[in-house]
Amino acid sequence: MINGQALQNGTQLQRIGPKIMASPLTLPLALFVVVLAVNAVFQDNMFNPRVLRTNILTFTPLMLVAMGQAIIMISGNLDLSVGWGVSAINCIIATYMTDDPLTIALVLIIALAASICMGLVNGILIGYFKLPFLIATFASSYVWLGLAMKITPIPGGYFPRFFAKFFKAYIGPFNTMLLIVVLCVVVWGIIRRYRLGRYIYAVGSDSEAAFNNGINVKKITLLAFALGWIFVFLGALMITAQTRNADSQIGTPFALNSIAAAVVGGIALGGGRGSIIGAILGAVVLSLIMNIIYFAGIPGSWQVFVKGMIIIVALGATVIYKKKYD
């Protein structure tokens, strides 16, 4: 006789196991733990609060830009221009910043507005003019670079010390920058409780089906870009606070790094899936990899090559994992 009840209950692990494996955050978390462990091996004092803080400071800009990229990716697009966008915002902030609180506020507001405009431009090109996102954001990236180079032909600029100190203020290993990241996660969590959040996922998953449900796909695309670029602004602000300098080249690595970070973090390239925490984890994993390469003493000429190989492995793991557990 088959004991239906016993079959039903099974063992706890048998029922939860598959659920854990299929959760979108499992792989990023696993990669995070692995990379953290390897890092700990090569960097002896890694868990020292001061060292932790410095690491967090260095990682934060990418975390924020990756979050912005994630939102845009979830809505079904990709933004190659966030890199030089960061450059442009960095140049705006550090070139016009002074010690005067009024100026500081004004510069920040203008920089934020500029950032949102950049997002809106991309959003309009892609959502309303139906340009493929690869072409549109590739083109706009040069516009942002041009803007950055016009404002700051040679590196220079100014960022008030006390302001920078504010961002680096800390308790133990936690500093203001980390707090800002946490606040961003909370804000996104709130957005997800509203229709905008769900519609961004819907449009990214299947824009035609979303349209058939009465969702204004163009508007959602636009809003996703605008929202994403608010995060990009924050990332640019953070890196400006650290370097206290204006440099049109500073944003260059962010474009592809943010995409890689998002993908490693479980954000689907096709859109409609992924968690913002994944993007943060992905950014940390990527940053730790670069850390490892430095501390493992890999010769300078090989560093970029090794970084590439490791990223291939991380991305490959993502793809294989998806095939098996999806």
């Binding site: 409780r193 769900r198 819907a202 998953s205 035609e208 089906a209 058939n212 449900n213 409609g272």
Partner: protein, 515 residues
């Protein structure tokens, strides 16, 4: 306008660029009735329903809803007025869960305008209860089986509490049992005053559930046929309205004229976890063997395995006495096995390429084909095929994406003919194909068999198999459980065999099949 009719559409014209999809079509739906909408692919059925539900606007014409002239600019506007359409999987978002999809775009809100997920879930559970209570409302749509997806689409439409509902081919993905549930639900809705339009190619379903049918042909309303007397349905009249001529069917019993030869294909113990479980069968030269069974018993997987698409775990296939290795489609093709796949759009055709290219591709792709294409010969061959198959196409250069479903399917079959295959595999070839094209297709299959090719065909519609096949195999849970000679079999008997096999399995005791 008469308010006995909930919907009246008059003088509807719709032009898509140069193509006239609707040419002064008319459509009436009396309140509280179920009206069937029939017509060949390309007759304007989809266009008409999309106009009625606000997906597209008519170029000319008027629509009256509950006696008033209306013009809907979006599907949402039509829905808010009480007119809803059940799509074939065009409105479910794959990465969102079932409950998130049902109220997508019209989510219940809390006072602070955030989404009220708890209330949404409760409502969803209520609507799913009648139709598909086994579905996990937290599961993402993309993880559902096609039949469950269709049921969720239906539940979604019902959740909007429509007064007028259009169902576009709602049964093609469903099991017979689920169709019965759906029809029960439709009858319940009818009794509460909901009016419905039922679009389908399955004549027996239309006859069962509809009060009358409206037939479209070439964008115009060809006529109406009353179905209130279920014992006296003028089937031939319906077909005449659809096709414009009497149904041309090949000689019903060509089987008598065909000679069936020796066994050319033997399958022994074919297994492939999880879907194939020790499949054993044989096929003779010139024979048409049908594959029946409930959906999802491994039929598609068997076809793919025989065509070289899958790595099987165990078993062997013997062709003309020689065991063959079928690890790649090229092995199958090399052994004379050709597959007409289940999803012609994705797997069977180069949609953007011409009829000529598609028809001649297998010929050009085979081993030893000349490097420089003999264009003239290929054109002659294609012209011959088009003629032999009565393929309706403007020219050989037309992209196959522009052909109607039935004609496109003819291309998928015809392209193998120049290779003179030994065994033609067909995986539900007439799905979604209109009446005349379906008849043409099976005539073609019979003709192919007459010329010595063996045919192995899986069809979800049992009537197709009964009409065409010499023998019918029943598949259940990955193995062949019955091998029936097609003498005096009717649909009820065959269906009972498909279900009965399920019953026998449980330790020899009769027990109901639980899902």
């Amino acid at each position: 306008m008469s308010d006995r009719n909930i919907v009246e559409a008059r003088n509807l014209v719709k032009r898509f660029g140069g193509v006239l999809a609707l040419d002064k079509a008319e459509f009436l739906c009396p309140a509280g009735k179920i009206v069937g909408l029939l017509g060949e692919n390309g007759s304007g059925k989809s266009t008409l329903s999309r106009i009625l539900t606000g997906n597209i606007s008519p170029t000319e014409g008027e629509i009256y809803y509950k006696g008033e002239l209306v013009r809907f600019h979006s599907p949402r506007a039509a829905e808010d007025a009480g007119m809803t359409m059940i799509y074939q999987n065009f409105s479910l978002v794959p990465d969102l869960s079932v409950w998130q999809n049902i109220y997508l775009g019209k989510e219940p809100l809390k006072k602070n305008r955030s989404m009220d997920d708890a209330r949404t879930k409760a409502l969803v559970r209520h609507y799913l209860e009648q139709l598909c209570p086994w579905v996990d409302i937290n599961m993402e749509i993309r993880k559902l089986m096609p039949a469950d997806k269709q049921l969720v689409e239906i539940a979604k439409a019902l959740a909007g509490e429509p007064e007028f509902l259009i169902l576009d081919e709602p049964t093609s993905a469903l099991e017979k049992e689920q169709v019965t549930t759906l029809f029960g639900l439709m009858k319940d809705l009818k009794s509460t005053g909901v009016s419905m339009v039922f679009i389908s190619h399955r004549m027996h379903e239309v006859e069962e559930i509809c009060d009358h049918v409206v037939v479209l042909r070439n964008g115009q309303t060809a006529g109406t046929v009353d179905l209130s007397d279920k014992n006296n349905v003028d089937y031939d009249e319906i077909v005449r309205l659809i096709t414009g001529k009497r149904l041309t069917r090949g000689n019903g019993n060509d089987r008598a004229n065909r000679s069936i030869g020796e066994i050319i294909c033997q399958v022994e113990g074919l297994s492939m976890a999880p879907k194939l479980n020790d499949v054993t069968l044989n096929i003779r030269r010139g024979e048409i063997v049908g594959l029946a069974g409930l959906q999802g018993q491994g039929q598609t997987e068997l076809m793919l395995a025989l065509a070289g698409y899958s790595r099987t775990d165990a078993g062997r296939v013997v062709i003309n006495g020689q065991p063959v290795r079928l690890k790649h489609p090229k092995h199958a093709i090399g052994n004379g096995i050709a597959l007409v796949p289940g999803d012609r759009v994705v797997q069977g055709l180069f949609m953007l390429h011409s009829v000529l290219h598609n028809l001649t591709f297998p010929l050009n792709a085979r081993k030893g084909a000349p490097w420089i294409l003999p264009t003239k010969d290929l054109q002659d061959l294609s012209r011959q095929l088009v003629q032999d198959l009565s393929l309706k196409t403007e020219s050989l250069k037309t992209p196959v994406a522009l052909l109607s479903g039935g004609n496109a399917q003819k291309v998928v079959v015809a392209k193998w003919l120049p290779l003179k295959p030994r065994l033609l595999l067909l995986s539900d070839p007439a799905k979604g194909v209109d009446v005349q094209a379906k008849a043409d297709l099976y005539d073609l299959i019979t003709q192919i068999a007459q010329e010595g090719t063996s045919v192995f065909v899986y069809a979800s519609d049992l009537n197709e198999l009964i009409q065409a096949c010499d023998r019918i195999l029943v598949m259940y849970e990955g193995r062949i459980v019955e091998d029936l000679l097609n003498k005096n079999i009717d649909e009820e008997f065959l269906m009972e065999r498909c279900l009965h096999s399920g019953m026998k399995r449980v330790d020899g005791l009769e027990a109901p099949i639980s899902n």
